[in-house]
Structures are given as structure tokens and as C-alpha cells.
């Protein structure tokens, strides 16, 4: 089945080309068929190849198909090769399956938009670049996918280009991710000069022999790759662009800013895990960043009133969990949480999209309410999604993935109690803001009437996704519940085992604690926002809480910080130098020569006696020179 591998990225690429070249003249129906069809075709191929990969796993553990040699200079010869192994199989399954559902959803959701074909073209291009990113066998091809994904997120965030703030949000996203990409590019240079090649399998094989653990080169390379990952996955220093990226249509937020693109950083670190293992300090940094981000994002989500921004902050916090897991060395747990998170976050975004569409583009949760019985399907799917987000014990898949991370935060080799405590608090806050969201949107009095009921094409994807959010978790059960570790065994072909501390025991007590945090969060949110809303009013009135509230609302002030520290000085510096200070030198030279001209033309005064004087002075000078020399 190896030779079919190229079909997976080729279908969306074909979709993109057809739609861009002839999109304008095609009727919308055709556009939808091609747009959604191509991605579903790719999903079907993925499933076929996946099944074949699972049933008869190839001896070397990976399929690879070389299309052509990209370039060949001296001894740098990257090839365009697609490389499928367990890790990338999981990713392409998630991308194509959820991508297909989202495309199906957006056929109805974007039906009334005038740039219908442009939307599907960009979505197909995105799926293509994401697949390329995941299937790349060398870092250069990975970088190609990496930047392609950044481009598509720029195009899609700024999809409704009439409002210039969408354009600015798109530009902000691209530039911040670009900073990360530059760091990654420098990382690629370092790797090339250390290993002499960019082929990932060779790098991973040679790394342990080249560097001893904790070597400075390993740390530098890991840091650079981490910076690239942080930029793309909107982690701590670079997280300000994701909330603004909600300016794009909801399917875009669902596909790009929840399921796939933002987890590219996770994929990169998982793929290059050998380098990260060689530098424990960087692993600790990764864990630390993950923990800090989940904590900050959690609190910011608590204070948002825009439905999609809450989900955006929640995405940042959930990816924080994945980074935490990666930092701890729990590779398979991170990937598992990625898969589960992709399902329920896509579901939440699509449901949110349906709600916003129904209330005629009303984003503000305070104006929603009482939609429980008006949009039953959307309500139930939203609740299932939130349950999984909250990690409701036993029934929701979120529990299995997040609980694993919590357990490893405590038990794994480089886990420590502080990390566990932050993760535990994070779980509590997640429960808090999720329930607040559900209550504010679905319970209480209906403030705005429902204009449109979502059609069948919107509800079917929601239901499928809801089904998966429930049962996807069962393929990886913790030890004390029947220890079914299908998922991690499958991934152990590529990623190493998670090493536990020798004294690690009592997993059940930690699960109990996690469940306690979840229920506590639900209850407090129920009290605060449903039972006694006046308590919130009282809290808001006193000074300190209001200040804290606005601080959290503005994403812990990072936006403001960047604006004053970086953006404003650069803009000011550029504008004062608008017409190029270097040009002044040349204008100076012209002024000097014109001045010389003026005083010389003054000597041409026209009077004969002046000329004779000139002649005599000249004579004196010449005779003087002759006599002196």
C-alpha cells in the first residue's frame, strides 16, 4: 500500500488547484462537492492505508515514498519523501477524519458566503500543508508544511477581509508564528551542521552517539525547536495571537485553531523526542511552560464573555497539558490527549458555531441563554463535549487522557509535586469555566430569539463527533481499570516508554482527587452562575476583584506588554526614518556643490578690471610657486 501514500496529500492539493483556477465560475453545489469530497477522499485513503498498516505492519515500522529530489547542492540533498509511521498515522487520521467532518459542516455553515470557493480552496490547502507537515521525512519538507499551515491560517483568519480588524488579527497570527519559525530555521541550520543531514530518522539515530546527555549543543537545538513549537502552538510567550484568531469563521477555528495546526508544536517535539531526551533541562522548561500556560489560560477563560474566546483560551490551556506531558517524558499520553482534545474541541467549536449562526452572529454569552430546549441536538452535543473537556470521570474520554497526564505529573521520573498541583488546580478551573459557559449559553432566560435552526448537514457531524468524544477514550484505560493500553502500545513503535518513579503507587487516590476537583468545579460554577448570580455582582463591585478581573480578561496583560515593549518602538523607529537618513548625505553633497557654483559664478562679475585683477593674481601665484620650488 506504500505507493498509495502520495494520494493522501494529493487529494486536497487537487481540490485546492481546481477551486482556485475554476472556483469562481463553478456553481456552489459543485464547489461543495469538490471541497468536502476531496478531503473525505483523503480520509478514506488514510483509513485504507491505516488499516493495512495496522493489520500487516511493515517490518521497518514505516512506509516511505520518494516523489522527487527537491534540490542537490554539494552534500545537501533533501528529497520530497512521504514517511508514514505510527505517530504520523495517528496525526493524519485525526487531520483527515475531523477535517472531512468540518468540511461537511462548513458546506452548510458557509452556504450564504460570496467567497464560497475561496473558503474551500484555503481549507483544502490547509489540509494539504498539515498532511505534508506530518508526513515529511526531512526537516526541510516539515518546514515547508509548517509555513504552508501558517499561510493558510493567515488567509482563513482574514477571510472576511472587509473588516480591517480581521486583517490585523490574521497579520498578528502570521508574524508571531513567523518569529517561532525563524527560531526553528536556525535550529535546522544547527542540526544540519551537527549531523550533516536533515533526514529525521538519521538524526534520531545519530543523536545519542553524537551528544552526551545534557550537552550544550543538544540544549541549544532543543531550545530552538521548542521556540518553533511554542510559536505555532500558541504557548506562553506567543499565545496572544490565538484569541484574536477567533475572527475567522467557526469551522476554521475548529479545524485550525483547535484540532490540528495548534498541535503542530506537539508533533514536532514528539517527533524529535530523542533530542529533547538528551537535554533534561529543556524538558523541564517544556513542562514548566506547559504548566504555566494552562494555569494562565484557565484564568483568562474564566473572565471571557465571547463564546469563541473562552474556547480559544481553553484550547491554549489544554495544549498546555500536552506540553506538560511532553516535558514529563509521557510522550504517548501527550499524543493521546491530543487526539481526544481534537475530537471534543472540534465538537465544541462546531456547536458554538451552530449557536452563533442560530442567534444571527451573536458572540456575547451574556446575551444568550435558554437555548436548552430550542436547540436540543446542539445542546446535548455541547454538553458531551464539555463533559469531555471537564474530564468527567469514567464516561468522558477526556478523563482518561487528562487523568493520565495528572498521574504522570506526579509519578513520572521527572515529574514533581508542584507540577501536579498546578495541573490539579488547572483541572478545577477548567471545570469552573466550562460549566459557566454551558450555564450562560444554555440555561437561564432566553435573551435573543433563535433565527435559524441548524440544518441536517450541521447536526450530523456534531453527532458523529459526540459519539467519538465518548468512546474514543476507551482504547487507553488506566492500570487500575482493566489496563487496556492499545493506543500506547501502538505508539511505542516510535515513542519511548514513560519511565515512572520507583516509588510511584496509589494511582487510584490521584484519580479520586481529580474527580473531586472536577465535581467541585462544577458545583461552584453551578452556585455562582445559576443559583445566586447576585453573588457575582457583589464580587464585581469591590475594587481588587475588578482589577484582577480586567487583568485576567486581557490575557494577563501580555498583549499590552508586547505592544508597548516591541510594536510601538519599531513602528516609531520606522516612521521617523521614512525618507531614509542615508539620503541626506547625498543631498548634502549636492548643496555643497551648488554653493560652490554660486560663489564661483560671483567671480564672473563681467567687469574687465576684475578679470585683469584675476589675471595678475594668477600670475603672482604661478611665479610664487616657481620661485619657492
Amino acid at each position: 500500500m506504500e505507493h498509495l501514500l502520495w494520494l493522501i496529500p494529493a487529494c486536497p492539493l487537487a481540490g485546492f488547484l481546481i477551486l482556485t483556477l475554476t472556483g469562481k465560475s463553478m456553481p456552489p453545489a459543485w464547489v461543495a462537492i469538490i471541497g468536502a469530497g476531496m478531503v473525505s477522499l483523503s480520509a478514506i485513503f488514510t483509513i485504507i492505508i491505516g488499516i493495512d498498516f495496522l493489520t500487516f505492519p511493515p517490518a521497518s515500522g514505516h512506509h516511505s515514498q520518494t516523489l522527487w529530489t527537491w534540490m542537490e547542492v554539494a552534500d545537501f540533498h533533501p528529497k520530497i519523501t512521504l514517511y508514514l509511521d505510527a505517530l504520523s498515522l495517528v496525526f493524519i487520521f485525526v487531520i483527515t477524519f475531523i477535517g472531512a467532518l468540518i468540511h461537511l459542516y462548513s458546506v452548510a455553515f458557509m452556504a450564504f458566503d460570496k467567497d464560497y470557493s475561496r473558503f474551500f480552496a484555503c481549507m483544502n490547502l490547509f489540509v494539504f500543508s498539515m498532511l505534508l507537515l506530518v508526513l515529511a521525512d526531512n526537516l526541510l519538507l516539515l518546514y515547508l508544511g509548517w509555513e504552508g499551515v501558517g499561510l493558510c491560517s493567515y488567509l482563513l483568519i482574514g477571510f472576511w477581509y472587509e473588516h480591517s480588524e480581521n486583517g490585523y488579527a490574521a497579520r498578528k497570527a502570521f508574524i508571531i508564528t513567523r518569529i517561532g519559525d525563524t527560531a526553528m530555521a536556525i535550529g535546522i541550520f544547527v542540526i544540519f551542521y551537527q549531523f550533516g543531514t536533515l533526514l529525521i530518522p538519521d538524526i534520531l539515530a545519530k543523536a545519542p552517539s553524537l551528544w552526551h546527555p545534557g550537552a550544550s549543543m543538544a540544549t541549544i537545538t532543543a531550545l530552538l525547536l521548542l521556540a518553533g513549537g511554542l510559536g505555532k502552538s500558541a504557548q506562553l510567550p506567543f499565545q496572544t495571537w490565538l484569541p484574536d484568531a477567533m475572527a475567522g469563521p467557526s469551522p476554521v477555528s475548529a479545524l485550525i485553531h483547535a484540532a490540528t495546526m495548534v498541535t503542530a508544536g506537539v508533533y514536532l517535539i514528539a517527533r524529535m523526542h530523542v533530542i529533547f531526551e538528551l537535554s533534561p533541562t529543556v524538558q523541564l522548561i517544556v513542562a514548566g511552560i506547559g504548566a504555566a500556560t494552562l494555569f494562565i489560560a484557565g484564568f483568562s477563560a474564566l473572565t471571557q464573555y465571547d463564546l469563541k474566546r473562552v474556547l480559544a483560551y481553553s484550547t491554549i490551556s489544554q495544549i498546555g497539558y500536552m506540553f506538560l506531558a511532553l516535558g514529563l517524558g509521557a510522550w504517548t499520553a501527550a499524543i493521546f490527549h491530543f487526539m481526544i482534545h481534537a475530537f471534543f474541541k472540534a465538537l465544541l467549536f462546531l456547536a458554538a458555531g451552530a449557536v452563533i449562526d442560530a442567534l444571527n452572529h451573536e458572540h456575547n454569552m451574556s446575551k444568550m441563554g435558554g437555548l436548552k430546549n430550542k436547540l436540543p441536538v446542539v445542546f446535548w452535543t455541547f454538553v458531551i463535549g464539555s463533559a469531555s473537556l471537564i474530564a468527567l470521570p469514567l464516561i468522558s474520554s477526556g478523563f482518561y487522557s487528562k487523568d493520565q497526564i495528572l498521574w504522570f505529573a506526579w509519578a513520572s521520573k521527572n515529574g514533581n509535586p508542584l507540577l501536579w498541583l498546578i495541573a490539579f488546580l488547572g483541572a478545577f478551573i477548567t471545570a469552573l469555566y466550562t460549566t459557566r459557559m454551558v450555564i450562560l449559553t444554555f440555561w437561564g432566560a432566553t435573551k435573543t430569539e433563535v433565527q435559524r435552526l441548524p440544518g441536517k448537514l450541521i447536526t450530523i457531524p456534531l453527532i458523529i463527533l459526540a459519539f467519538f468524544t465518548i468512546c474514543a477514550g476507551f482504547i487507553e484505560l488506566p492500570h487500575n481499570f482493566g489496563s487496556l493500553t492499545l493506543f500506547s502500545d501502538f505508539l511505542h513503535q516510535v515513542l519511548p516508554e514513560t519511565v515512572l518513579k520507583s516509588t510511584a503507587n496509589g494511582e487510584f487516590s490521584f484519580q479520586l482527587l481529580a474527580a473531586l476537583a472536577t465535581f467541585g468545579g462544577i458545583y461552584t460554577a453551578y452556585i455562582l452562575w445559576h443559583k445566586q448570580p447576585e453573588r457575582i455582582e457583589k464580587l464585581k463591585r469591590n475594587e481588587a476583584v475588578l482589577l484582577l478581573y480586567s487583568f485576567w480578561h486581557a490575557g494577563w496583560g501580555f498583549d499590552q506588554l508586547y505592544k508597548t515593549v516591541i510594536v510601538r518602538p519599531v513602528v516609531f523607529l520606522a516612521n521617523i526614518n521614512k525618507n531614509d537618513v542615508v539620503d541626506k548625505i547625498y543631498q548634502g553633497i549636492t548643496l555643497v556643490s551648488i554653493g560652490l557654483y554660486r560663489c564661483l559664478s560671483f567671480t564672473q562679475s563681467g567687469s574687465l578690471r576684475w578679470y585683469i585683477m584675476g589675471l595678475v593674481v594668477g600670475a603672482i601665484i604661478i611665479l610664487g610657486i616657481q620661485i619657492i620650488l
Partner: protein, 499 residues
């Protein structure tokens, strides 16, 4: 024999267009178009025919050589020869020439004959520069390329075209004359050493010069090429010349005239003064990096569209300097790629700026906005080429910039890190350009027509070539390899310690 024939074709075509232009208004366009197409086809067939020879890896990189005495008393001969690099740049010259004629189809209305005369004579001068192997002849063509460009900017330019034309001419002329003195000094030193008075490049290659004088000679050459390839302190003529020139003029200016500077350094400065070049490589690379960042910051603050694009090419040419003085094969291949891809991407942006000027009669981006609604095709192509200019992988510029940075990383790490930071600035100005011109509220003014068939053809050709260079640059790399192998003999140490 094809070399003489190419230059003769261009000059003859120019004269014919000028004469015909006196009484017939439309014929000159066709004449110049056909001359360029013939020349282009001839070059392509020559390339295909010689491509096999290159791949065998023959050590001698010179494909064809033509020598004929011109002023025997001074040892000046009409000596033309091309190798991989010159062939590539020649094809670029004819390719952009065709596009220049096509994009000025409707834009230029009066004095058509003289316009095409100038156009073809610039191209003749440029192809002469790329072929000349006699230093006197090289300077001869170096000057010939100036006058028609001066007329092109001075007569068909926009508002303050005289100022721009003067500035362009005098900048290049001063530096050219300094180079002329270095050529003469080299000529006399060679004559003293060997007693033979000749300007032949191959004989002058080996002259032994005292380091002190060699430095001054190299500075003479370097200043001429630094002005042409705008290195930061000498770049202030570029934005004026670009913003005032007609579309075809700025296309040729950006696409070809900047490349003559880079070609000059590769052909004359490095082989003639290898030791001095090595000692002064770090500060040259520093100039390159300054160019990248300074050009990007300036591009960011411009409001005139063509000036903005002009400053972006200052930034891109900073990469070229960085690559040249890194002295290894990766960087040299990156430089050759950058010359081609920068010509295509900046050329396309200039053509679109010209089209916008034709439709909106203004170059100020503050007055534009929301044009995507009326011109979706142009919007899409503009985004593509803006992405090319910020170095999106999959397009030509990325391959070039990546190779340059990879090559330069080995020779000077910290400068390359600074240069990579320049990539962020390139993203900032490109996206600001797209945002200001195509996004934002849709204007109520009269509907603007999208691409006509001619413009679609131009843009399609450019898009295909930039994507082809991005995904499969191997033919270009193979053609340039023999020339770079020769460079290896000059800088064995830098080439040797590959990873």
C-alpha cells in the same frame, strides 16, 4: 557565434523600432517583441543543447568563446564568452525583456519608437555585460546600459522623473568611473609584470599585486558593484529610480540592473582579488546584514507602493552580499537562485504596482484598500508574490534564502542569525502591503477591471516560473555548478571544511 548575433539582434531591433516608430504607431511593439522572442528561443535551444555537456561535470566551465581584435594598439579585443552563470542571467534578461514589452503594451502611448529603441538597447547593454570577457569591453557595455535607462526614466517616468533620472545616472557613473581607474591600474600593473599590454580577463586573472594596491583596486571594483547591487550606504538612488520609472523600466531595473552588480562581484572581484576578498569578507557580510534589516525597516514605513517594493529589493540584495562572501558552494548556489527568483518575484510585484497605477492613477497605498472585491485574480496573485518575497517555502525565494543562510551559517554564525531575524521583518512589510492594498473596507469608487488576457498571460508565466523554481530548482543548480566549481580553486579552505 551566437553571442555576437544576440547583441546584434537586440541593437538592430532597437534601431529598426526607432526608425519604424517615426511613422507607424503600433509596429515598434511587435518588432521588439519578436526580436526578444527569437533571442529567447535561441538561448533556450542553446541551453538545452549544452545542458548534457554541463552534467558530465566537465571542468572547463566556459561553453562558448568568441574573440576578435578591436583596438590592437591597446590590446583591447571584442572578447565574449559565457559559462553557466552568464547563460542563466542572459536567459533571465530575454525572459524579463519579453515581459517588459508585454506589460508596457497599453501603458506607453507617445514616442513609441524611441521607447522600444531604449528598451532594446538597455537589454543589449545588459547582455553585453554578462558576456564581456575583456575588462574594457565590460566597462563599455556597463556604460551603454546606463544611457537608455536614463532616457527611459527621464522621458516616460512619472512626476519628478528628472531628479530620479539624474540621481540614477550620476550614482552609477561615478562608481563606474572609479572601477574604470581600477581596470586601468590593473592593466598597467599586469603590463609591468609581464610586459604584455592586454585587457583580456583570463590573462589579467593571475596578476600579482602588492596587497596595499590590491586593496584599493578591489575597492574601486567593489564600489561600482555595491552601488549597482544596492548595498546600504549607496542604495538611495534605487527607490527614486524605481518609483519614477515606467513599469517596464522598474521591471528591468529591479530584475536585471541589480543583477549586473552581483554578477560583477562574482566574475571580477572574487577571482581577481581572492586574498583581499577573504580578509574583508566579514565586514562585507555585515554590510549585507545591515542591508537586510535596514531595507526591511524602511520598506515597512513607506506609503508609496513602488518605493516599498524598491526597499524590499534592497533587503533581498542584502542576502546576495551575505551569500557571496560566505565562500562556499551552498551559499553560491543560493546567490545564483536568489538572483533569478528575486528578479521574478519583484518583477511581478512591480508589474502589479504598474497595473494598479494604470487603474487607480495613484501609488499611495493609504488611498487604496478593499480591492480584493473588485480584483480577486490580482489579489490572489499579489498574495502569492508577497508570500514569495517573504520567503514562503514552496516558492523560489525560499530555496535561495535558505541555501544562502545555510551556507553563511558555517562561515559566520552570529551574522546569519541576525539575517534570519530579517526574515521576520520581511513578513511584516509584505503583509502590511497586502493588508493596505487588498484588505480593508471596500471603496465605493468606480469598479476597476480585473486582469485582461494579456495581464493574465504575464502573471501566469511568472507564477509558473516562481513555483517551478521553488519545487524543482535542479536544472538551475546544475547549470551554475561548473562556475562554482571554479570558485572552489580560489577559496579551497572555505569550501573544504564542509560539515
Amino acid at each position: 557565434m551566437i553571442l555576437i548575433w544576440l547583441i546584434g539582434l537586440l541593437m538592430g531591433g532597437g534601431l529598426l523600432a526607432f526608425l519604424v516608430g517615426q511613422w507607424n504607431k503600433t509596429l515598434p511593439r511587435w518588432i521588439s517583441l519578436y526580436t526578444l522572442i527569437i533571442g529567447f528561443i535561441a538561448l533556450i535551444s542553446f541551453w538545452v543543447e549544452h545542458y548534457a555537456a554541463i552534467n558530465i561535470g566537465s571542468t572547463d566551465s566556459w561553453m562558448i568563446d568568441f574573440q576578435q581584435d578591436w583596438i590592437p594598439s591597446f590590446g583591447i579585443s571584442f572578447h565574449l564568452a559565457i559559462d553557466g552563470l552568464s547563460l542563466l542571467l542572459l536567459m533571465l534578461t530575454f525572459f524579463l525583456g519579453i515581459l517588459a514589452v508585454l506589460c508596457s503594451w497599453k501603458e506607453i502611448t507617445e514616442h513609441l519608437g524611441f521607447y522600444h529603441f531604449n528598451l532594446l538597447w538597455i537589454l543589449a547593454g545588459i547582455s553585453g555585460v554578462f558576456m564581456a570577457m575583456d575588462l574594457f569591453l565590460f566597462y563599455f557595455f556597463w556604460e551603454i546600459m546606463l544611457i537608455p535607462m536614463y532616457f527611459l526614466i527621464g522621458i516616460w517616468g512619472s512626476k519628478n522623473r528628472e531628479y530620479a533620472a539624474y540621481k540614477f545616472f550620476i550614482f552609477t557613473q561615478v562608481s563606474g568611473l572609479l572601477m574604470f581607474i581600477s581596470i586601468l591600474a590593473l592593466y598597467f600593473i599586469h603590463a609591468q609584470n609581464t610586459g604584455r599590454y592586454t585587457f583580456n580577463y583570463f590573462e589579467l586573472l593571475g596578476t600579482v599585486i602588492a596587497p596595499q594596491t590590491a586593496f584599493w583596486l578591489m575597492m574601486g571594483f567593489m564600489i561600482a558593484f555595491a552601488v549597482k547591487l544596492p548595498v546600504v550606504p549607496f542604495h538611495s538612488w534605487l527607490p527614486d529610480a524605481h518609483s519614477e520609472a515606467p513599469t517596464a523600466g522598474s521591471l528591468i531595473l529591479a530584475g536585471l540592473l541589480l543583477k549586473t552588480g552581483a554578477y560583477g562581484i562574482l566574475r571580477f572581484v572574487l577571482p581577481l582579488f581572492p586574498e583581499i576578498a577573504k580578509t574583508y569578507a566579514p565586514c562585507a557580510m555585515l554590510l549585507g546584514v545591515i542591508g537586510i534589516i535596514y531595507g526591511a525597516i524602511l520598506a515597512f514605513s513607506q506609503t508609496d507602493l513602488k518605493r516599498l517594493i524598491a526597499y524590499t529589493s534592497v533587503s533581498h540584495m542584502g542576502f546576495v552580499i551575505l551569500g557571496i562572501f560566505a565562500f562556499n558552494e551552498l551559499a553560491f548556489q543560493g546567490v545564483v537562485m536568489q538572483l533569478l527568483t528575486h528578479a521574478i518575484s519583484t518583477g511581478a510585484l512591480f508589474i502589479m504596482a504598474g497595473m494598479l497605477k494604470e487603474r487607480l492613477h495613484t501609488r499611495e497605498i493609504d488611498e487604496m484598500g478593499g480591492l480584493w472585491f473588485q480584483m480577486p485574480k490580482m489579489g490572489a496573485i499579489a498574495v502569492l508574490f508577497a508570500m514569495a518575497s517573504l520567503g514562503l517555502p514552496g516558492l523560489g525565494n525560499f530555496v535561495a534564502e535558505f541555501l544562502i543562510l545555510l551556507g553563511a551559517f558555517k562561515s559566520n554564525m552570529w551574522l546569519t542569525v541576525l539575517a534570519t531575524i530579517g526574515l521576520i521583518f520581511s513578513a511584516i512589510y509584505s503583509l502590511r502591503m497586502i493588508q493596505k492594498v487588498f484588505h480593508g473596507p471596500i471603496p465605493a469608487s468606480a469598479p476597476f477591471s480585473d486582469f485582461s488576457w494579456r495581464e493574465v498571460f504575464i502573471m501566469a508565466v511568472l507564477t509558473i516560473s516562481i513555483i517551478w523554481l521553488g519545487l524543482y530548482p535542479q536544472p538551475i543548480i546544475n547549470t551554475a555548478r561548473p562556475m562554482i566549481k571554479q570558485m572552489e580553486q580560489l577559496f579551497p579552505t572555505e569550501f573544504k571544511n564542509q560539515p
